[in-house]
């Protein structure tokens, strides 16, 4: 059995003149939570649709559980729980109807767990979907995605429409529980604090390309904000190897640096500068730096 649930190699996709994905390679390891972040139109949903087999790969290949999702959709989709960004579920059904309907497609459906989630999400089984608020519809989608206890949970912007309580407490708990059971969660989000809280590994997607794909710990260890004090006033930011962004004037310049701390000390010495301040970066800062740099 492969250690990777999702294996994407050099995936490219365009829609007319728009290049949605360019040479994307991504490996999602079994177990854990994988966060996919990117600005609007970065290609997150397109990538997810390739994983679900709704789009075929124009270039490269996509493999999920070692299967091709386009040619074997039943084999792949039966093991995936998917929550779409647009919460597109049939509006004319009642909550209980959609649960009964969806249950028939998954042999591993856990009726007890579904009932538990129904109660947890405070959903009325007799309510029609069209009468639900966006947040309630999101909860129904989440329930449907989770109740068959999928090996891979794919959540496309799961927080969209959910209130802070559900988002922070329940969603976090569900994602963590799923991951602790040895299953895999792949989720895309704009909310970087949420990704920071939940994800074990993060990929930054920008304009159809993967800019960064690393475990969250490694990212935080690698990226620092550092302020250097130079002996002489500088008109431009002196070139610091490993720096991905710089800001300042005169003698004091602040860098976003990616690399080992020892290397940074050596590089600062080489520039005849002193490290006067050094601190960690948030995921938000790292994301913005990468996007601006690209």
């Amino acid at each position: 059995m492969s250690d990777h649930v999702i294996d994407i190699e050099h995936l490219s996709r365009s829609f007319g003149k728009t290049q949605a994905l360019q040479d994307v390679s991504l490996r999602v390891p079994r177990g854990g939570v994988y966060g996919l972040i990117g600005s609007n139109g970065a290609g997150k949903t397109t990538l997810i649709k390739h994983i679900l087999g709704s789009h075929y790969a124009q270039g490269g290949s996509v493999s999920v559980f070692g299967l091709d999702p386009v040619t074997d959709p039943v084999g792949v989709l039966g093991r995936i729980g998917y929550m779409s960004e647009d919460r597109d579920i049939p509006a004319w059904m009642r909550v209980q109807e959609i649960i009964g309907f969806t249950r028939s497609f998954y042999p591993a459906w856990d009726t007890g767990y579904a009932a538990e989630l129904l109660e947890l999400f405070e959903l009325d089984p007799k309510q029609k979907i069209q009468c639900l608020s966006r947040g309630q519809a999101a909860r129904v989608c989440l329930l449907l995605a989770l109740s068959h206890r999928p090996e891979l949970l794919v959540l496309d912007e799961p927080s969209s429409g959910l209130d802070p309580v559900i988002r922070r407490d329940i969603l976090t708990a569900i994602v963590k529980t799923t991951s602790d059971d040895g299953r895999t969660v792949l989720f895309s989000s704009h909310l970087l604090d949420e990704v920071e809280r939940l994800a074990d590994r993060v990929a930054i997607l920008h304009e159809g390309r993967i800019l960064l794909d690393q475990p969250l710990e490694t990212i935080f260890e690698s990226f620092h904000r550092v302020t250097l004090h130079f002996e002489d006033a500088q008109l431009e930011a002196p070139g610091l190897e490993g720096a991905i962004q710089s800001q300042g004037n005169g003698r004091d310049w602040t860098y976003v640096y990616c690399g080992e701390k020892e290397q940074l000390t050596q590089a600062a010495k080489g520039l005849r500068a002193q490290i006067v301040a050094q601190g960690p970066l948030s995921l938000d800062d790292i994301f913005v730096c990468h996007v601006q740099r690209s």
């Binding site: 679900l52 989709l77 049939p90 004319w92 309907f101 028939s104 979907i129 069209q130």
Partner: protein, 548 residues
């Protein structure tokens, strides 16, 4: 931008320039299907200007007006997007109400003018144009403003019915027996003061009501009609009776249930309503007039019309399905629910991600369309059976002197069988005809045969029917091969379908060959072929459509 009106106009035409072209072109198809063959088979050119064509003209006018109105409505989209702009409600209503009226009138005038130029017909333009403008305007209060009830379909139907009566009156066709055959019928050449009065009154009332509905909708105020209130009560009762223990035996059963309610349930409902309504009117009129003939005439005529309704609704919704619409949630622009994101082939992202094989999904689609067809046909047959029972009890038969078009019970049986086949074909339009039209090699065969037949100086009508038959046959053969290559259908089942279809077609031609003639036999065989086609092509079409 110079003004709000200029900005809105720019937004409208920039977004809809193609749609405004496609729908008028689409509106020409019924005319093309009816007038071109008529022109070819008519003994002389005088036939094309004879009053015999008045019925066809009236039907075609209604057809183009409805298609053009639908096109303009679709192009305008929901007015909700304008609610947050700093524009008064009166401006919103006026802009879309009157510009739509002008567009509809202009489209209809252009189409009729084109027919006049291209075909040897001399049909009036003014009457139909005024009719189209009134049609557009009186439908606006029903189609604008949010309503959670589907009763608007019934209301719109009643309005269209009333408009059709006006159209018939414009042509001098009385609503009596043999109305079409009276000598008073004429083309709608001049607009009488009554016509102008109807126009002005209906336009004023419609404009006022539309503005009111938009104003209510804009401020979030619900103005529930009586029908909506009745539905609300029904919803409460339904909710109370609703069973919480829902289960299906298999994915196919679940998907059939979903597909039936999502797409096809409207057909049996419409047919049942049509039959019930005709029976109610028949009993009422029969009792009031104390006349058995009146009862029989209305009951048979109503059921006969319901058969037409079955085929027409299947055709209409079949076409709608091609563009991603569905029957059960056939929404006007203002009613599209916020969660709706329909795509061609009814595959929303939710159903698209359910683990069901293409073969099982195809089976589910065929079951649901088959169920809708059979239920509606059963309702019609039951109605005929009840009428036959009444006739048998009263010792009488069909009053044939009053219903000349109905020759015998056998004729009604054949008609119902034909409508069943057509309904099944149309409900599966997107899995049978549509994929066929997309295959260039199918057209090569068709045009080759057409060219050979025309070169042999065969009659044009025969050539067209033969080309259509070849198109269907080629599609059927290629779909069968494809279904076997992908193991979509068991070989025994495929042989069974071919055997059954061939037997039915041969039996039909053997029994009714003389009445049908060569063209009729070709067409009937083609439709039987088209009813076989979805069994082979559905899984392949779903497979192609799922992945983009």
């Amino acid at each position: 931008m110079q003004s709000i009106i200029a900005a809105l106009s720019w937004e409208y035409f920039a977004r809809n320039r193609w749609m405004l072209l496609w729908f008028p072109l689409l509106a020409n198809i019924p005319a093309l299907c009816m007038l071109v063959p008529l022109q070819c088979i008519s003994p002389d050119s005088s036939f094309m200007v004879s009053p015999l064509l008045i019925g066809i003209q009236a039907t075609l006018i209604l057809s183009i007006v409805l298609v053009v109105c639908f096109g303009v409505l679709q192009s305008q989209g929901s007015l909700k997007r304008l609610y947050r702009l700093p524009i008064s409600t009166l401006q919103i209503a006026s802009c879309y109400f009157w510009s739509g009226a002008v567009l509809v009138g202009a489209h209809v005038a252009l189409i009729l003018w084109l027919w006049k130029v291209l075909l040897p017909i001399d049909w009036p333009i003014a009457g139909p144009v005024v009719f189209s403008v009134v049609c557009w305007c009186v439908l606006q209060p029903v189609l604008r403003g949010e309503s959670r009830s589907l009763w608007w379909i019934v209301l719109a139907g009643l309005i269209v019915m009333a408009l059709f009566i006006w159209l018939l009156a414009g042509h001098g066709i009385p609503l009596q027996k043999g109305g079409m055959l009276t000598t008073q019928i004429h083309y709608w050449t001049e607009l009488t003061p009554t016509d102008w009065l109807i126009t002005v009154a209906s336009l004023s009332l419609a404009y006022w009501l539309t503005t009111l509905r938009i104003a209510y909708d804009r401020c979030g105020r619900r103005n529930s009609s009586l029908l909506e209130r009745i539905e609300w009560v029904w919803e409460r009762i339904d909710s109370r009776w609703f069973s919480a223990s829902w289960s299906f035996k298999s994915p196919i059963q679940a998907y059939s249930w979903y597909d039936f309610l999502h797409r096809f349930v409207t057909i049996p409902i419409l047919v049942t309503l049509g039959v019930i309504l005709s029976w109610m009117i028949a009993v009422l009129m029969g009792v009031v007039q104390q006349d058995y003939g009146t009862f029989m005439r209305i009951a048979i005529g109503g059921t006969y019309l319901s058969t037409g309704l079955q085929v027409y609704s299947a055709l209409l919704f079949g076409f709608l399905g091609l563009f991603g619409g569905s029957l059960a949630r056939f929404e006007s622009p203002d009613r599209k629910p916020k969660t709706s994101n329909s795509t061609p082939f009814e595959m929303c992202s939710f159903t698209d991600t359910l683990p069901i094989s293409f073969q099982d999904k195809a089976t589910a689609f065929l079951r649901s369309s088959g169920a809708a067809t059979l239920i509606s046909s059963a309702v019609i047959l039951i109605s005929y059976a009840l009428i036959a029972m009444v006739a048998w009890v009263s010792g009488d038969s069909i009053p044939s002197n009053e219903l000349k078009f109905i020759k015998s019970w056998e004729y009604l049986g054949i008609l119902t069988a034909l409508s069943t086949v057509l309904t099944f074909v149309f409900t599966n339009l997107k899995f049978s005809i549509f994929p066929t039209l997309m295959q260039i090699d199918h057209w090569i065969w068709t045009f080759s045969l057409l060219a050979i037949l025309l070169a042999c100086r065969m009659p044009f009508g025969f050539c067209t029917a033969a080309a259509f038959s070849i198109l269907v046959l080629v599609a059927l053969v290629s779909s069968t091969i494809e279904s076997q290559l992908h193991s979509d259908l068991w070989l025994g089942t495929a042989i069974g379908i071919w055997g059954l279809g061939s037997c039915v077609a041969l039996a039909w031609c053997y029994l009714y060959g003389n009445e049908l003639g060569s063209i009729g036999m070709l067409l009937v065989s083609s439709f039987i072929g088209l009813s076989m086609l979805p069994f082979f092509s559905t899984a392949a079409t779903i497979r192609r459509a799922r992945t983009t």
